[in-house]
């Protein structure tokens, strides 16, 4: 079908880019100050509030952590939060606010794992299966924990490169500051704006009315605005409703659609700007250019063929749906404002490539970390080609660093392709989806890709609420989150004790040449890894 991008569509794209980049400039500067503990606006008040929290928790804010201590504190905090969510979901029938029957153990385990890792794949239908308490105290809470964890880890990671023995920081200090002085205020203001645009916020779970023709209609509601704002801003993506951001209560109109896209992109785009403040303007801008160009390539591929109108919402149209979904999947948010089945095969290829790369721009915090892993790999490969010892920020990259970086890179295909093969050899894929076609293969590949990249969008939804799919994807989200985080913190731990030489970099990590090479490498490395599977899947639809 002929694809037409109208000038109105281009205005939408322009507003999205201008809006998210303006926020990123403000947030990037703010994040940079948090990373190096510089004065922020309202520092006195914020500092006083934070100190109260540190006192309550009983930590010494000056105590620095090694990468192992930092990672351990991160994992333990996440584990406790996940146990809490698991308990809430299993026992929601005993808890207040429109109790519903508790989730099965495997579904609760999957949901807790999925939300704590910033994935938010949903094998349940939120509006039917969850109580208001679960949506609010369980999930909304977790939607702060997950991005704050990623952002904190990225703080520690970036500190590793700043200067020798700067220290990686203290996990609890970062985690609390990120939530209290960054995520929470922005989520609050965004929730208010979403309410202005029509998103409900009430403790009433539903009302029943008589329609114009006199038939009974049950309208499901709840504290949606407070969940929706952090869902998008925190690259979470788990919807209040089963139909996610396609539901008019989560995303009522074109304005809310654009606003939610801007929210999703703003933190991922902030990190290269923070990086520019801390490690050199050229370097940060180069990475930002790679992210935006990569995002543009995804968008062009996604628009090659027309998506919809079946499976799409009329109020967003084809462009508004593709723009939302690519922004959401490229930031590993995983929200969707249409059914994936309504997306064209080219759009699906674009979404899969975004999840294979995980860094254009990627999720809050982890997108930037993954991009720096690509930088290290690029320096290594280019170093081999031109015969120079690879160096990054005037530090020698040794063989251990490269091994860790390669491992971060390789774990991703491993935890996508091995489970996909197991799902087919066990017969679980055929049992769920019937005979094997390019379309059903794409759905299985997508499920594990989305899990491994902590994305959260999926075709299967509640139909995958079986022990095999719940446990296998839960395992993949856990490995896909914590193994790369641990490895990347280990890389930071290795860099923070290195000597810096004040000499010219043998391979410059900024400027148009490096930017182009990094962009090509990012796509080349991932596409080469996954190409056969793209051929078997979406290319054959």
């Amino acid at each position: 079908m002929e694809v037409s991008v109208t000038y109105v569509d281009l205005i939408q794209l322009l507003v999205v880019l201008l809006g998210s980049l303006s926020l990123a400039v403000i947030f990037g500067k703010y994040l940079a100050r948090m990373i190096i503990y510089e004065k922020r606006p309202l520092e006195k008040t914020l500092g006083r509030v934070e100190n109260e929290f540190y006192k309550l928790i009983g930590i010494d804010k000056y105590q620095q952590m090694t990468w192992r201590q930092y990672f351990l504190a991160l994992v333990v905090t996440n584990f406790i939060a996940a146990c809490f969510l698991f308990g809430v979901l299993v026992f929601q029938d005993l808890l207040p606010l429109s109790p519903k029957s508790g989730l099965s153990l495997d579904l609760a385990f999957h949901t807790a794992a999925s939300f704590v890792t910033n994935t938010d794949i949903q094998h349940y239908v939120g509006d039917k299966q969850l109580s208001i308490f679960s949506q609010m105290v369980g999930l909304t809470f977790m939607m702060f924990v997950a991005p704050a964890t990623g952002i904190s880890a990225a703080f520690a990671f970036i500190r590793g490169f700043i200067r020798k023995d700067f220290g990686l920081g203290n996990f609890y200090v970062d985690f609390i500051r990120v939530i209290i002085t960054f995520l929470l205020p922005v989520a609050f203001v965004s929730a208010i704006l979403l309410m202005v645009l029509g998103v409900p916020q009430t403790l009433e779970s539903s009302i029943t009315v008589q329609t114009l023709e006199g038939a009974p209609q049950t309208i499901t509601m709840g504290p949606i605005a407070s969940l929706e704002s952090i869902k998008e801003f925190g690259s979470n993506g788990g919807g209040f409703f089963g139909s996610n951001s396609a539901h008019p209560f989560e995303n009522p109109n074109g304005l809310s659609n654009i606003f939610e896209i801007i929210l999703m992109l703003s933190i991922p785009f902030s990190f290269p700007i923070a990086y520019a403040h801390l490690l050199g303007k050229g370097r940060g801008v180069s990475i930002l250019v790679v992210m935006i160009t990569g995002f543009g390539i995804l968008l062009i591929v996604g628009l090659l063929t027309q998506s919809g109108p079946a499976g799409l919402e009329t109020r967003f149209g084809s462009f508004g749906s593709v723009l939302f979904n690519i922004s959401s999947i490229a930031t590993n948010t995983g929200a969707a404002n249409s059914a994936l089945i309504g997306m064209s095969p080219d759009a699906i290829i674009s979404l899969l490539v975004a999840m294979f790369i995980q860094a254009i721009p990627g999720a809050d915090g982890t997108g930037m970390m993954t991009m720096i892993v690509y930088v290290v790999l690029t320096l290594f490969i280019v170093g081999l080609m031109v015969g120079k010892t690879p160096e990054f920020m005037s530090m020698k990259i040794n063989s251990r660093d490269i091994k860790l970086a390669v491992f971060v890179f390789l774990i991703h295909p491993a935890i996508i392709l091995i489970p996909t093969v197991i799902a087919y050899t066990n017969g679980d894929a055929q049992q769920l989806l019937g005979s094997t076609t390019p379309m059903t293969f794409t759905q299985v590949l997508y499920e594990y890709t989305s899990s491994a990249s902590n994305n959260g969008s999926d075709y299967l939804g509640a139909s995958a609420d079986t022990p095999f799919w719940n446990l296998s994807t839960a395992l993949v989200v856990i490995v896909g989150r914590y193994v790369p985080l641990g490895l990347m913190l280990a890389i930071a731990g290795s860099f923070t004790i290195k000597d810096r030489k004040e000499v010219v970099e043998p391979i410059r990590t900024q400027g148009p040449v490096f930017t182009s090479v990094l962009l090509i490498m990012t796509f080349l490395l991932t596409v080469l890894t996954f190409f056969p599977f793209l051929i078997m899947g979406p290319f054959s639809i």
Binding site: V8, I11, Q12, L56, I57, G58, A73, V76, T77, I80, F84, V137, T140, F141, V145, I179, I180, L184, A187, I192, M195, V196, G198, P200, Q201, T202, L203, E204, V209, Q210, T211, L212, E213, G214, Q217, I219, M221, P223, A225, S226, L227, A246, H247, P248, F249, N253, G254, L255, N257, P309, L312, T314, R315, F316, G317, A336, N337, S338, A339, G342
Partner: protein, 159 residues
């Protein structure tokens, strides 16, 4: 050993408890208080009433079977299944049938459709959404403008 375990778990547990209170309880409640006091209409689901009786939400589709009304597209054709929005073409294509069933002149119906589309366009600042009509709003307009034709629906529900 005991003390080192406590050293790891104690701050983590306390952090989690505090964040549950702040982000899971205080934050949504504060948003609700703000919404219910300043934006009561949206906070409660953008409900619409006819003569004081709530008949639905203007953001959600409802089932219309009568030939006197505009109809949404089938639930399985959209993603949410509950969106009340249809394209301009779809709205205009239904006009002849409604006119036949009600006797309302076609140009009146066209005006109602175009007015609704214009309103939606304005609400989306012209550029942020394609042209669409809201089926529920169209039908409410019909009921409002032609109460005698739609009297059977106004009296529905034992009012």
């Amino acid at each position: 050993m005991e003390s080192s375990k406590a050293k790891i778990f104690s701050p983590a547990i306390k952090t989690v408890i505090l964040m549950i209170v702040v982000t899971g309880v205080a934050y949504p409640i504060l948003v609700m208080i703000a919404g219910q006091s300043v934006l009561p209409e949206q906070s409660n689901g953008s409900l619409v009433d006819v003569d004081g009786k709530i008949i639905g939400s203007k953001l959600l589709a409802q089932e219309f079977t009568s030939p006197k009304f505009f109809h949404s597209r089938a639930a399985s054709e959209s993603a949410s299944g509950v969106d009340p929005h249809i394209t301009k073409d779809s709205a205009l294509s239904q006009i002849q049938g409604i006119s036949d069933a009600t006797g309302i002149p076609i140009n009146h119906l066209t005006t109602i459709v175009e007015l609704d589309i214009a309103q939606n366009n304005a609400a989306n600042w012209l550029a942020f959404s394609p042209e669409y009509a809201n089926v529920l709003k169209l039908n409410l307009e019909l009921v409002k403008q032609y109460p005698e034709i739609y009297s059977e629906f106004l009296n529905a529900g034992g009012k």
